[in-house]
């Protein structure tokens, strides 16, 4: 064996933060190799993928538009992951949030925006919560693993969405396309910056991240979540109810995913279609880990993964690469991130341990 792993015996603070950076660097190198294997000039491809999306006038605002749902979902997931509640079904909760809000938007298109918008936000949150309540109940009542239940419910949500847009909610004037009517302007979130698609949801995402940060680091609830995740017996010793915290984690995660779904269909998409998400709910898991399960870190993670979506689009147009390049980039990033996180608890050593004096 060339390299050995040696336990550090403690968390390395340095590597907690250096690991995502190393993972990013390794991902970029690997992406360059993939580009060159595909017969593209690697440097130019990297430029197209990572830099060019930001150079156009719409680039930066678009980055924030794409990052908003990732941050919203990522913050909610981070809080739950801290408590060892593994909600993998944010994609489904996002879909239900979108469906709930869309139902309202389609039923009352002419309601005044000042009422309709908040009502849609509430319904979006409730939709996500309702979907997350199923794994929460199954976990706390029957001890069913929430990883499986929440993940599988994602596919149920997707089928429900397809049923609605091809059946009862299909736009009669939509030439048979599986989609609802476009939402009214009252049901569209206000734009924050003129001439861009930067909508209210972007602001909401940043606010949620800041609130999430305060909750996690300063509040008693955040403390309870962290204790539950790090030492369940200590949580019990302190009298923190595990099932209450599981419910809370899933409600916060589901609610924020639902809110993200609502903003996405009401804002950038503008209607319900079978493809309202390019996998935001799953990508947000990477965002949460890249952001070290810290709400402020999630902002950075969200921006980086938003760039991978924009880069994927640019690569399709400029390099004639398939859309799959986005998924590959994200997958490699998660792969390296998990690998690099080993360095938090272990250090790499050469084949022969240095003689006395090495440690």
């Amino acid at each position: 064996m060339l390299l050995r792993l040696e336990p550090r015996g403690e968390h390395s603070r340095l590597w907690t933060y250096a690991s995502p950076l190393l993972a990013l660097a390794l991902t970029v190198v690997t992406a360059a190799i993939i580009f060159s294997v595909l017969g593209k000039d690697p440097l130019q491809s990297l430029y197209v993928y990572l830099i060019s999306p930001l150079t156009s006038t719409t680039g930066l605002p678009e980055l924030f538009v794409k990052a908003a749902p990732l941050i919203l979902i990522g913050v909610g997931l981070s809080l739950g992951f801290r408590a060892n509640v593994w909600n993998i079904g944010a994609e489904g909760q996002y879909t239900l949030g979108a469906i709930f809000a869309a139902g309202l938007a389609l039923s009352y298109p002419d309601a005044p925006a000042i009422l309709l918008m908040p009502a849609m936000m509430v319904l979006g949150i409730l939709g996500g919560m309702a979907w997350a309540a199923i794994p929460a109940y199954l976990r706390t009542r029957w001890n069913a693993n929430e990883i499986l239940t929440s993940l599988m419910l994602t596919y149920v949500a997707q089928l429900l969405l397809i049923y609605l847009v091809t059946g009862p909610w299909r736009d009669p004037e939509g030439y048979g396309f599986p989609q609802t009517a476009l939402f009214s302007s009252n049901a569209t979130p206000p734009m924050l910056v003129e001439g861009t698609r930067v909508h209210l949801g972007v602001l909401a995402a940043f606010l949620v991240a800041i609130i999430g940060w305060i909750v996690l680091t300063r509040s008693v609830i955040g403390f309870q979540l962290r204790v539950l995740g790090q030492a369940p017996r200590a949580a019990r010793f302190a009298g923190f109810s595990q099932s209450r915290l599981i419910w809370l984690s899933l409600m916060v995660g589901g609610g924020l995913a639902g809110l993200a779904g609502m903003f996405e269909v009401a804002g950038p998409v503008g209607q319900l279609t079978p493809s309202i998400s390019p996998g935001y709910g799953f990508t947000a898991i990477i965002v949460a880990f890249l952001g070290r399960l810290h709400p402020i870190g999630v902002i950075f993670g969200g921006l980086i993964l938003a760039l991978s979506y924009l880069g994927g689009e640019a690569a399709q147009i400029d390099l004639r690469m398939p859309n799959a390049v986005t998924g590959i980039f994200q997958g490699i990033l998660l792969f390296f991130l998990l690998a690099c996180d080993v360095l938090i608890l272990y250090r790499l050593r050469g084949p022969k341990p240095a003689a006395a004096g090495g440690a």
Partner: protein, 524 residues
């Protein structure tokens, strides 16, 4: 192994089995070993004595290949060597039983032992060999039991058996007797003496001075990373040994208001029945007890006889079936959770420090908040008052002489004894009406143990009802006003400490379980 066995006891001409010269180990901010010399002869039982933080653990980790020294030389049977890792150490013939066990909770005893073996061929007939060793050395173990259901004492036996399977030439024991009954300790000593006679040297780390005097032939005493003395413990008094170790004269803990308690009980348990949540746990059967303010009740018993369940029932981690099964200061608390019980004045120190009493990855401040936030009002409007919390943690650190860099230090950075002082201090500083502590000094050095004992007595003197659940009888006899024994989930009647003898209690702990046995002895 056999060649070694023929080498007889320490003589001037014998090549030392192990000799360390000038070992230096520097940790950030702390020189753990400062030019330490140590010589262990074949077949001798050698004590390594020192307070927590004296550098004993660091030194044995260096011997066992867990840590690398920054400087110094290790010779094994005369040859200079570099111990690469624990595997290498085991191949050389060094076995170690750690103070904190490294066992997989979900696996069985046999599986855990199999995992520790480096050679696949060893696994054949493993179960028979486990059975053989546990029989011949008096270390009772069921190879098919899952570890998570075993007591600390039973877990320790796994570690010992695991070492013995390797037929070591040197066996390192880190605080081995803290969880054993007097009878078990005697049996362990027989085991160790027999091993020594067979030629296996034993490096014995303990703070129990009487044991060291009974068992060991030579002692090396460390303080603050340095070797301060060598002696023959059989020639020294326990007090003298302790003073060499601590560097100052010891004063015995004292408890003034003993037996002077007036008024009704502050903690009462009435015919409590509780099913254990663990598959091989012990159900509590008709447990009753009453403790007045100012009184210390000791609960003795062998590990795994319902102590964990009793602790959980008292702390509210497990709820009783009826509210009046547990009464704290006159309030029916049987169905109240830990937070409500704390509000009533109940404070608790569980047996396990890491992961139960404390979150090892959190700071001392956060750990102070964990159980102190209700009684010390450390939260405001759902937010943690970090200034007040750090102040509370700092108060605990100062009053209990916890050696650490401050409230922001992570719990895991503290040595076992220091963390225990912090956890006891955290509860004592909440001025509880009832304090229940389990194994207050397990794995803690003499200095810290004395400080903890004094704190518990002072607390009782101030009017608190104190319950000490301990497997260390000496501790109970030193602390308690009355003693009760738990065996198979039944609690004997409490006997005033002056009327109880070690033999009597030993009988209660062993065969004569149940309330009838308890009454017989109590009335005897």
């Amino acid at each position: 192994m056999t060649g070694q066995a023929e080498t007889t006891k320490a003589t001037g001409t014998t090549v030392p089995l192990l000799s360390l010269t000038g070992i230096v180990k520097q940790f950030p901010g702390c020189l753990a070993n400062d030019r330490v010399d140590l010589t262990v002869l074949p077949g001798e039982i050698h004590a390594l004595l020192g307070e927590n933080g004296a550098g004993k653990s660091t030194l044995v980790k260096i011997i066992y290949g867990v840590l690398k020294p920054d400087a110094g030389e290790i010779r094994w049977q005369g040859e200079p060597i570099v111990v690469q890792n624990p595997n290498h150490a085991r191949r050389l013939g060094i076995g170690m039983v750690f103070q904190h066990f490294s066992l997989f909770e979900t696996l069985t005893v046999a599986e855990n032992i199999a995992l520790g073996l480096t050679d696949a061929a060893d696994r054949k007939g493993l179960r028979t060999r486990i059975a053989e060793i546990s029989r011949s050395y008096g270390l009772h173990l069921d190879p098919d039991k899952a570890v998570h259901d075993l007591s600390v004492g039973e877990r320790q036996r796994i570690e010992i058996v695991r070492c013995l399977l390797q037929k070591p030439k040197l066996l390192i024991m880190d605080e081995p007797t803290s969880v054993l009954t007097p009878q078990e300790v005697e049996r362990l000593f027989e085991t160790l003496r027999r091993l020594a006679k067979e030629g296996c040297a034993i490096l014995y780390i303990s703070h129990k001075l009487e044991e060291i005097r009974a068992l060991c032939e030579r002692a090396t005493i460390m303080r603050l990373g340095k070797v301060v003395a060598h002696c023959d413990p059989r020639q020294e008094t326990a007090k003298r040994l302790a003073e060499m170790m601590i560097g100052t004269a010891l004063k015995a803990a004292s408890h003034q208001a003993r037996g002077e308690a007036n008024g009704g009980p502050r903690l009462e348990v009435k015919t409590l029945n509780l099913k254990s949540e663990q598959q091989f746990g012990t159900d509590l059967k008709n447990v009753s007890l009453a403790v007045k303010g100012g009184e210390i009740l000791g609960i003795g018993g062998i590990a795994g006889n319902g102590q964990a369940e009793l602790m959980a029932a008292l702390s509210g981690e497990m709820l009783a079936a009826s509210p009046n099964a547990i009464v704290i200061d006159g309030t029916h608390a049987g169905k109240l959770g830990p937070r409500e019980r704390r509000a009533l004045g109940g404070c608790f120190v569980p047996e396990e420090r890491n992961g139960h009493g404390a979150v090892s990855g959190m700071s001392l401040s956060e750990n102070a908040f964990l159980s102190g936030h209700i009684r010390r009002a450390l939260a405001r409007n759902g937010l943690i008052d970090s200034g007040k919390t750090a102040g509370f943690a700092d108060d605990v650190i100062k009053s209990f002489d916890v050696r650490t860099t401050g409230p922001s230090a992570e719990a895991r950075s503290l040595s076992g004894g220091n963390l225990q002082k912090f956890l006891v201090g955290r509860e004592v500083k909440q001025s509880p009406s009832v304090l229940v502590v389990s194994q207050p000094t397990w794995g803690v050095d003499a200095g810290a143990a004395a400080a903890i004992h004094q704190a518990l007595m002072d607390l009782a003197d101030s009017g608190t009802a104190v319950v000490v659940i301990s497997q260390d009888l000496d501790e109970i006899f030193a602390l308690a006003d009355r003693i009760a024994v738990i065996a198979e989930g039944k609690l004997s009647q409490a006997i005033p400490i002056g009327e109880a003898s070690v033999e009597q209690i030993g009988l209660l702990m062993g065969g004569m379980h149940g309330t009838s046995g308890g009454r017989d002895v109590a009335s005897a």
